[in-house]
Amino acid sequence: MESVLTSPAAASLFGLPAMIFAIIIPLLGIGVFVYIIVRRVTPLIQAAPDDRLNRVPERLKMVLKIWLAQWRQPRYLLAGIIHIVIFFGFLVLGIRSISLVIIGFADHFVMPGFGGSFGRMYNVLKDYAATLVLIACITAAVRRGLFKPARYAVPPRYGHGHTSEAIFVLGLISTLMLSESLFEASQAAAQVQQGVPAEFLAPLSLAWIFRQMLSGVALAALQGIHLSTYFIHDFTFFFFLCFLPLGKHFHVITSLFNVFFMRLEKGRVKPVRYGVEDDQLDELESFGVKKFTDFTWKHILDFYTCADCGRCSDRCPANTVGRPLSPRFVSIKGRDYAFRHYPLGGGNGRPPSEPLMGDIYSADEIWSCTTCGACEQECPLGIEYIDKMVDLRRGMVEEGMVPQSLQKPLGALEKRGNPWGIMEKKRAEWTKALSEDYPVKILDRKNSAATLYFVDSISSYDDRMQSLACATAKILNGVGIDFGILGKAERDSGHEVRRFGEEMLFQDLRAHNTDAIADAGVTRIVTADPHAFNALKNDYAELPPVEHISQTIARHVKSGRLRLKPVEDRTKVYTYHDPCYLGRHNELYDEPRAAIDAIPGLKRVEMTGNCRDRSFCCGGGGLMLFYEPEEEQRMGVLRVEMARKAGADVIVTACPFCLVNIEDAIKVSGMEGQMEAIDLAELVERHMVVA
């Protein structure tokens, strides 16, 4: 194609060859960028180790799914679509922008492979991409500036809003799109005017529209536009590159890495320190996160990667009920701390040694988390929070900073193996409520069984929850499973003990239970408590296979071994509340539903938008029952409200803690008589056909 206008590489600017600028801008831009990145990487090098270079195929799969395919974006539909357009626009236009930079000093440069028909196809694609990105930017700016979705708001205690930064960046992107299109359109318009064959511009694309608009413009003016838009693009491109690592748009660079390194296993908690075995923990000088570089490098990368989209906090039950926790700001405060203590200029390069607690984080904030995992489920960038909470709590536990409300149950767990401090010998007393038709063996030297029913503390000791244990025992009997319990040899699974940061107590409980289970000589374990289920499955090691009672029920319903009577009350509408540690953390969504649906005539509705992996935490289990949070409302009350709005009057759950919280919520919100809650095991047991 014959060029009518003087190319940037051949032109002159301010009396100098323009090529000088075309070389200086990229050199300077890349130099500054590399400098900034080196500064940003410093805390990552000083940070605690993290084991993320393993399981590369799985990690690449996450990159393809979460990063490239933008898997989680459409969960927030409009924002998601806008992001997908801009994201793919960036991928497509990145090549165009780089080749534009190069032609500034290497005239007629063509990216290798972009010469022939592929190049022509690419040009059409990039014309449309630029157009769509511009439309997306305008939509995003209007949405952000005028409609102001609530989740972007910054509460006063977290400083000023971030809208101006967002709009500024949208402006930069728009400038890139406009300058690139004008650069091309001015050449094409000149070619048309001179009657030489013109560049093909994709119809109705931005460049095509500009060419139409520029058709009557004088050649000299076109030359001016051509050259000026080139340098506007060149400058904006490198300015943007260097601006990215200064704020929330750092994710443009870090997201690929953050997703690659993201946490692969659900339901687990990071070890106290990667590379230190449990039996060497006593030698560690300090536990958990106290100062900034106690975070692992991945956790600091998380801070950098946060795009401030607010999805985590939008789904966070603690934030929703007004507890002083917003996962979004856990990240933003961490990021700003890094920026402050590792400034681009100056700084002594030494890691900050001041405690984070009482500085950027408060104790109430960190204890407010129920570890429900909603934030991590939502984050489109693979940022994790639970491990950070646990690490910060480990630090507080070691410093003795544990709320009084939690000290009693922790002390009781240490002495009696349950948070209420009830005597060990009473652990099996719930079985007394069962008739002789439903014998429950206590596995000791005299009795053995193939299956262990791990009851855990709440179902063993709590008056109301003992009915859940009884129902479970009846179901196990009913389907003919040879089972027994550990009785006084059982201790609390320690699930929350670990998640509340008292790692050594957890390890004591685990060691005790592991021995007791080994002594019982069982080949399977079943439990009706998702917290115990998660602990035994993911926190313990070398145990027989563990199953939740919902899986047992679903399997035996399927095989026909467990038969269920038609539903007692046909006027009732049921809904299923996914317990966090069954659903999100262990992905058991279908088995409990299958179990409920197996009851003939039962009408079940979904709490659409708040079910399955978007389930809303009931208020938290284990030690969270003892914690006294600052909050405006109870999570359980909101949950009951969601069920009511879905048209249900019975909430079925599959976790004793959910049942406690939801039943309490029904009481405190005065909905007794209108709403009720029942455990899956109780519901099934009630409808069980006894052979």
């Binding site: 923990l281 002390g411 009781a412 009696r416 008292e502």
Partner: protein, 263 residues
């Protein structure tokens, strides 16, 4: 400031079901779990906080059998600098005065500016603190719920008095204070903290180390003896209100008004 805190190992009332044994001379101890007496734990926390502010060191002392070492260790894990265990067969069966005598001897072996005790113990009579002060001829304040160090010579202490009222006093050092719960928020002592101090040597002092004549303490020296232990028979006068929460509340208000509890 050199602070000595007297701590006691007691059956944990929250985590035990206390029953009288068959002989009727003690509680059943086979299934009990023990912990630091709650008041003493507040006293240790207070001592640590004072030392954090003005410097010095905290020593905890416990009088009991060998098992009392676990509470000394726990308080050291909390942050106390030194621990002393006072154990001797001759101490067994001491009455309050005997205990105070033993503690006085331990105090005399150090150079303390301030001695703290819990206001009472779960299984005690709330008498040792006062007796100890008298024997040491030191000023004493009981039920202390705030301490402020004025200078090297004086403390300003708050005392909880009847009806939730507060009294403020200045007291000369050295002195003995008995500490009320709620004076602070005691820090948590984790398993890891206890393990860290697991191998610290804790000196054990018996009657000879303390320069005590065995006859002055223990069962022999006791002037007060426990003669019986029993669970009182349920008396009259208790009324269980029944009905819904609202009804119960209404009845309660009615009763309180009728008996002059509400005006």
């Amino acid at each position: 400031m050199e602070i000595l805190v007297c701590v006691k190992r007691v059956p944990d009332t929250a985590e035990n079901e206390i029953e009288v044994n068959r002989e009727g001379n003690d509680i059943r101890r086979d299934d009990l779990v023990y912990s630091v007496n709650e008041w003493d734990n507040y006293a240790v926390e207070e001592a640590i906080q004072i030392v954090d502010k003005v410097g010095g060191s905290v020593t905890v002392v416990s009088l009991g059998d060998e098992e009392a070492e676990e509470v000394v260790r726990r308080e050291m894990a909390m942050g106390a600098n030194n621990g002393i265990l006072l154990a001797d067969e001759a101490f067994e069966g001491s009455d309050g005065k005997g205990l105070a005598t033993i503690l006085k001897a331990a105090v005399a072996k150090g150079n303390y500016d301030l001695i703290l005790t819990g206001a009472q113990a779960d299984d005690g009579a709330g008498q040792v603190g006062g007796m100890l002060a008298a024997m040491l001829d030191m000023p004493f304040a009981s039920l202390v719920n705030s301490i402020e160090v004025l200078d090297g010579q004086k403390l300003k202490v708050g005392r909880e008095i009847e009806g939730g009222n507060q009294e403020m006093n200045e007291i000369d050092l050295p002195c003995v204070l008995s500490i009320q719960t709620g004076i602070n928020e005691p820090r948590y002592v984790g398993i890891r903290g206890i393990r860290k101090v697991a191998s610290v040597e804790i000196p054990v002092w018996g009657a000879s180390e303390l320069g005590l004549v065995p006859e002055a303490v223990g069962a022999v020296g006791a002037k007060a003896q426990r003669v019986d232990y029993f669970v009182p028979a349920p008396g009259e006068g208790a009324e269980i209100l029944e009905g819904s929460t609202d009804e119960i509340a209404a009845k309660l208000i009615e009763l309180l008004k009728a008996k002059g509890g509400l005006k």
